[in-house]
Subunit: 231 residues, 2 copies
């Protein structure tokens, strides 16, 4: 099993979408080889017939898009622990995926954009900066000033998760599964990329995140948190 | 099976939380007797040991709180169609319940508050108006002017559901289950209470809502949409 994924300077696996796939593979107990890809290097992933990572190559089979990869793993490895727990869990997980991408990811991206462009090479940095400037309609120099306000919005947007964790240790109940990894992937992205604490101290979401960093042999925690000045 | 629930003028079953329970009962194929309760009539539901509806009475067993009722029905009636499809579906549905209550319900309540107080008796109207004024920090007279802006925020907040419905007909996948009924309950509340269209024409969320109005023998559609001037 090969996982094609973004890699930053110092071998950082910083992509939030890649972390959804990493945790899904670990949940299924599938060892994988990480194959680093630069954003600007479309030629390296041309074999997948599209231009985005993560991509998995499982023998002859190539699947791209973190959601489709999770569906594939669930179908292809039905005897390993389930990511969704059946059709209803898969349906509801897809809504949680859309909620994460549409109501959480943007506020966090705005907060950590200036730090993301520091931990990738020059070509990827220019590519990402152009995307952030276009997406948020402001020059990179203006992001830093809005960091605290963006993080505050992000923490507020996590409020439904906070309430849920009053009643159960994981989104998926007593044990983590794919819907946990979806939201986890954002906080892991922030942990790898940013010096700013994504959560306030004492937040129940933080305790949940720590539990997930420890899950599956500590796969999440084995990826170093942000250190160093970057480029 | 008795369902104690709010009732407005002309026998309207207008409570969004009650609709979660109504649809859950229908999903399980359980016939129920509706027992109307006025908000101000705490004595009528003192038997439940708390002060809120919906409440179900199933033989000797009394359960209050729409979420706890769903859990009870799932456990007590395991051979009827499942509301959650297992532990993961139950966990993820709880997050969707919290998302609905914390990021959808408030904006819709602000939009339809002036119409809610029209369709209940004088005592309940005064009680609800006081709650809206305290909750939103403005007098009832000011709600109407903000209706369109509130509805716009509500429609935006539904964006993750809209995206999800591009890939599947229901939140729970190929067929509806409890997570569908949670979000359905808000639109049903608006349909019963308000003349304002909660959704824009052509919205995929509207087509999903229509499918749910037809589900379980048209239980949802059998409740009349708002007509008449009210009090």
């Amino acid at each position: 099993m090969k996982l094609y994924e973004l890699e930053g300077l110092a071998g950082r696996h910083y992509s939030s979408f890649s972390w959804r796939t990493r945790m899904a593979l670990a949940h299924k107990g599938i060892a994988f080889e990480s194959c680093p890809v630069r954003i600007s290097d479309k030629a390296a992933i041309a074999f997948s017939g599209q231009g985005k990572v993560p991509i998995i190559q499982d023998g002859e089979t190539v699947v791209s898009d973190s959601w489709k990869i999770a569906e594939y793993l669930e179908k292809q490895y039905p005897d390993a622990p389930s990511l969704f727990g059946g059709a209803i869990g898969m349906g509801t997980s897809r809504l949680i995926n859309a909620w994460t991408d549409r109501q959480l990811l943007g506020t966090l991206a705005a907060a950590i954009a200036p730090e993301i462009v520091q931990i990738v090479d020059e070509g990827d940095s220019a590519h990402l900066a152009a995307g952030f400037e276009k997406g948020f309609g402001k020059p990179m120099a203006e992001f830093k000033a809005g960091q605290e306000a963006s993080l505050k919005r992000f923490r507020q947007a996590l409020d439904p998760l906070r309430a849920t964790l009053r009643n159960q240790p994981f989104i998926c109940g007593a044990a983590p599964a794919y819907a946990d990894y979806i939201v986890f992937s954002l906080l892991q992205w922030a942990r790898i990329v940013s010096f700013a604490p994504a959560l306030e101290e004492g937040d129940a979401v933080g305790a949940w995140f720590e539990r997930l960093l420890d899950a599956h042999g500590g796969l999440g925690r084995s990826e170093p948190a942000r250190t160093g000045a970057g480029r």
